[in-house]
């Protein structure tokens, strides 16, 4: 179990070596999320329409190790962008990955950029 968790580690924007062209911007629902596959990884991508901000994190919820975070609900806690897992509503900061309402391990966060209507996610491998 822990082995899938260890496949996901936060990528610092300065160390990106591959910008993966993940999908069209329209594939991600406004104010919602969807999941993209990169090699054997599942990455959740979110779009905040009002602020025009985008986030990417692991799709794996560290609570019960299910691939569900992309189906979670977006929001903010004191201004920090967060997602609530659809299974048991554990919430995670999309900025730091930290579990905001418990002490689960932080989720991995990936750099994301939008160019010419496409979503790119940064990996360093």
């Amino acid at each position: 179990m822990d082995s899938i968790l260890s496949e996901y580690t936060t990528v610092d924007p300065t160390t990106v070596s591959v910008w993966f062209k993940a999908c069209n911007v329209n594939d991600i629902p406004e104010n919602g999320g969807a999941c993209v596959k990169y090699k054997n990884k599942q990455i959740a991508v979110y779009h905040y329409k009002r602020k025009q901000t985008w986030y990417a994190c692991q799709n794996l919820c560290p609570h019960k190790m299910e691939m569900v975070l992309s189906r979670g609900m977006l929001g903010d806690a004191d201004g920090i962008a967060k997602v609530a897992c659809p299974m048991h509503k554990k919430t995670f900061s999309l900025e730091s990955g930290e579990n905001l309402n418990g002490d689960l391990p932080a989720i991995a966060i990936y750099p994301i950029k939008i160019e010419d209507g496409f979503v790119y996610i940064g990996f360093s491998e």
Partner: protein, 839 residues
């Protein structure tokens, strides 16, 4: 740098670490903690919760990372075996030595096991650690497997013993509490209150045996019974000993500390033992010649010892220690404070007893009638906090002291004001030693603005939690006194109640969530306000969940309930539970094609589990083509209207319950509400449809239908209450339209009808006035609103399968057709199930 070694990582040892590291001068010290148990300190006071959830993590006082983050070297699973006082060293079971400058003994206590013949037999347990509970659980399961009506006894009818009684009941065994004294909880209760408590516990299925001395435990190698002498025996399959505690003072002996004659390490009011630089705290410490078996005095001791070592010699243990207790035993309040009972020459007692209601209240008042000396409350301890404070603060009593327990004459109100009238020094949270002044002060100074802030700052309520109602009152009253309004706002993004927000959305004709944020909210919203607004939009415009799917609760967004492994369930509507053989075959065929687990639900329909997100539209297309509709099993909306077969077939039936159930289910299907709604229709008072367990229930009687409202099953079952009698079909619908619409407009998010009625001022009488007599002049409006919602109904699954854009939502990946390879099923009884969770 000096080293402090703490032996014992229990509740008090942990508190010592917390207090120590919170002190400004702490960084000059290294802290090493030894714990004999395999895990970091946990909340022993709430140990019994482990029987319910078996979640050891939930009991943790702090995670292992807390210790490292605070620069504490925690070594668990390692018992300290010797203290070498000359060289200031301790030695552990694995042979390692560590030197110290200060040593703190927080080794707690162990259950006292009386020397009864046969106590070593298999099936005899004590009740102190998580491991004890695990062993009991597995033993009880073994017994139940071979003997479903197995019995377990508890030796000791004190506080802990009765808690163990409840645990036995939860484990499914028949509980017997055996007490040597002639009454229960001998330390806290007088004989009469013990009798009241005994009656109540017996009515709940716990058998009580008082005045019994156990001679021996019967059985070969496994316990089979208890022998009380003179042919008096009790057959039992398991025994839990809860006969008091003995301090774990064995380390004191290894280095010659002064000990009490019956054990315990002697300490003074600085928590110093007889050897310099060695301290003892918690249940191992003998202070005032007493071992205090409670956590609050232990926490005080931890604070004193930390301050002594850190150079604040003025922090001392008080001479008088309050042993008041309040607890809920199996839902029964039991509390005692001060001197609970006493002979008449010491004071006068006022006693109120009502055996039919299992109530007993006693207060003891000084001869001059001016001060409260103590008391006992059984059955209703709502007034405990305030009485306890009056006692602790020596507050003056009202002229008629009896009003303290029987309420002021006439208005049934309380004789004393609220918590806000207490002196600032009153200690509100005794676990964390937080005074009223500190709580109110933090708000007045502007440091805190809410209950959450106060808890964050002071840690009040985080111990036993008993002070929570008072802290809530204090926070609310203080905010109010400063002119700040306190209300049940939805969340940080909307400063309104649901009912207010409903009004705003309607008046301003707000259509989308972002518009609501712009016009009356802030931030980006969250998982609380988004579904609440979705529900309000549905009530006003009756749009389906497809309109703005990203603000719907996850299950509504995908029009299906998510299951353990991320797959979904499919529940087609089967109104009233009536289904044709053709439709049954379609369900069977769909389930076979997509390999779905099928089960008859508790709501008279069929659930198909284990569908992958990508397959949902195709599955629903087939079902819809065969004439099915969404069952809204995922929504806060109407679920089912259960029926019994009724007068069409049943020889007792008074009316056609199936027809009426189908009519009602069809009328209210798709109706979104603050929580889910369920109905039932029974053909006669035998009530086979369990209609009175529903939010609305209709039962056929001579001359029409009886209509009941506001019932539910679930966690807190409530029978529905009679709203109207002997009415015809049209009137049932008219009243239901009004009732449901009024509930939907006014209830808080996730509040079911029963709780809503509880909170409705005037209760059922007021509801009757609104629904039947139209006292608010709203009836017509409510009926029109409901009719328009009914007229606008659309099956949201039909919408989804017919629209290519909406179908996009139902795909696990957006950049490939591949499926989620993390989703695993395993076989079970000819079908499949998700692979069980391991963490």
């Amino acid at each position: 740098m000096k080293t402090v070694i703490v032996v014992g990582n229990g509740m008090v040892g942990y508190k010592f670490c917390e207090k120590f590291r919170a002190h400004p001068a702490n960084s000059a010290f290294k802290l090493i903690v030894f714990g004999e148990e395999p895990r970091p300190a946990y909340d022993r006071v709430h140990l019994s919760e482990y029987f319910g959830n078996q979640d050891a993590k939930a009991l943790e006082l702090a995670p292992a990372s807390w210790y490292s983050d605070n620069n504490i070297n925690l070594i668990t699973n390692e018992r300290v075996t010797d203290i070498l006082n000359e060289t200031q060293e301790v030695r552990t079971i694995s042979g390692k030595s560590f030197s110290y400058d200060y040593l703190v003994l927080a080794t707690g206590s162990a259950p006292f096991v009386p020397p009864i013949k046969g106590v070593e037999k298999e099936g005899v347990f004590v009740y102190r650690t998580i491991e004890d509970l695990e062993e009991m659980l597995s033993y009880a399961a073994q017994i139940k497997a071979i003997k479903p009506d197995g019995r377990a006894a508890i030796l000791g009818g004190g506080l802990l013993g009765l808690e163990a009684g409840k645990a036995v009941l939860d484990m499914g065994l028949e509980p017997h509490v055996v007490e040597f004294a002639p009454k229960l909880m001998p330390r806290q209760l007088d004989t009469r209150s013990s009798n009241v408590l005994q009656l109540k516990l017996e009515s709940m299925g716990i058998q009580i045996h008082l005045g019994k001395a156990t001679n021996q435990i019967l059985g070969e190698s496994v316990i089979e019974g208890m022998d009380f002498g003179e042919d008096d025996q009790l057959d039992v399959d398991m025994l839990i000993i809860s006969a008091g505690i003995r301090p774990r003072d064995e380390l004191g002996k290894t280095c010659g500390l002064d000990m009490g004659t019956r054990g315990g390490i002697v300490v003074n009011n600085k928590m110093e033992t007889s050897i310099p630089n060695i301290y003892a705290i918690g249940e191992v410490a003998l202070y005032n010649q007493m071992i205090y078996g409670l956590v609050a005095p232990g926490y005080d001791m931890a604070n004193v010892a930390a301050n002594q070592i850190l150079g604040n010699p003025e922090v001392l243990m008080p001479a008088d220690i309050d042993m008041s207790t309040k607890l809920k035993l199996m839902g029964v309040d039991v509390a005692s404070f001060g001197t609970p009972y006493m002979p008449a020459e010491k004071g006068l007692s006022i006693i109120y007893e009502n055996k039919t209601k299992h109530l007993y209240k006693r207060i003891n008042v000084s001869h001059d009638g001016k001060t409260l000396l103590g008391g006992i409350l059984v059955g209703d301890a709502n007034d405990y906090n305030i009485l306890h404070q009056m006692y602790l603060n020596n507050m003056s009593l009202p002229e008629n002291a009896e009003e303290l327990i029987v309420g002021a004459r006439g208005d049934g109100g309380s004789a004393f004001g609220s918590a806000i009238d207490l002196p600032d020094t009153a200690q509100i949270c005794s676990c964390e030693s937080i005074s009223k002044g500190k709580i109110c002060g933090s708000i007045k100074e502007g440091t805190c603005n809410s209950l959450k802030d106060v808890i964050g700052l002071t840690k009040a309520t985080t111990g036993c939690g008993g002070c929570k109602p008072m802290v809530v009152d204090l926070v609310n009253e203080t905010l109010k006194s400063m002119g700040k309004e306190v209300k049940d706002v939805i969340c940080e993004h909307f400063e309104y109640t649901r009912q207010e927000l409903y009004g705003i959305v309607k008046v301003k004709n707000i259509q989308t969530f972002d518009e609501a944020l712009d016009k009356c909210g802030k931030g980006d919203g969250c998982e609380v306000c988004k579904p609440a607004l979705a529900s309000i939009f549905a009530t006003i415009y009756n749009d389906t969940a497809n309109k703005e799917d990203v603000i719907q609760d996850s299950n509504d967004r995908f029009l299906a309930n998510i299951q353990r492994n991320g797959s979904y369930s499919v529940v087609p509507r089967i109104p009233g539970g009536e289904i044709t053989p053709e439709k049954l075959i379609v369900i069977g065929e769909v389930a076979k094609e997509y390999n779905l687990y099928t089960k008859i639900t508790g709501g008279q329909r069929i659930d198909l589990f284990g569908a992958e997100l990508n397959d949902l539209p195709a599955i629903w297309k087939k079902l819809i083509d065969a004439g099915f509709e969404s069952g809204h099993a995922y929504g806060k909306s109407l679920r089912t209207v259960k029926s019994c077969v009724g007068s069409t077939w049943c020889r007792y039936g008074m009316d056609e319950s199936v027809s009426f159930a189908i009519e009602l289910e069809d009328r209210y299907k798709g109706l979104r509400s603050p929580h889910k709604l369920k109905g039932g229709v029974s053909g006669c008072i035998r009530e086979c449809a369990e209609a009175r367990g529903k939010d609305f229930g209709v039962i056929a009687v001579d001359g029409g239908w009886n209509l009941y409202v506001c019932g539910n099953g679930g966690a807190t079952p409530k029978h529905a209450i009679l709203l109207a009698e002997q009415i015809d079909n049209e009137t049932v619908i008219k009243y239901l339209d009004r009732f449901l619409m009024y509930y939907i407009r006014t209830a808080a998010p996730l509040m079911r009808t029963a709780t809503w009625l509880d909170k409705l001022e005037g209760g059922i009488d007021q509801l009757k006035r609104i629904v039947i007599d139209d006292s608010l002049n709203l009836a017509e409006e409510l009926e029109i609103e409901m009719q328009s919602l009914v007229d606008k109904y659309e099956c949201e699954w039909k919408q989804a399968v017919e629209c290519e854009e909406m179908k996009k939502r139902f795909s696990h990946f957006v950049n490939t057709e591949e499926r989620d390879d993390n989703m695993v099923f395993v076989p079970m009884r000819d079908q499949k199930m998700p692979e069980p969770w391991t963490n």
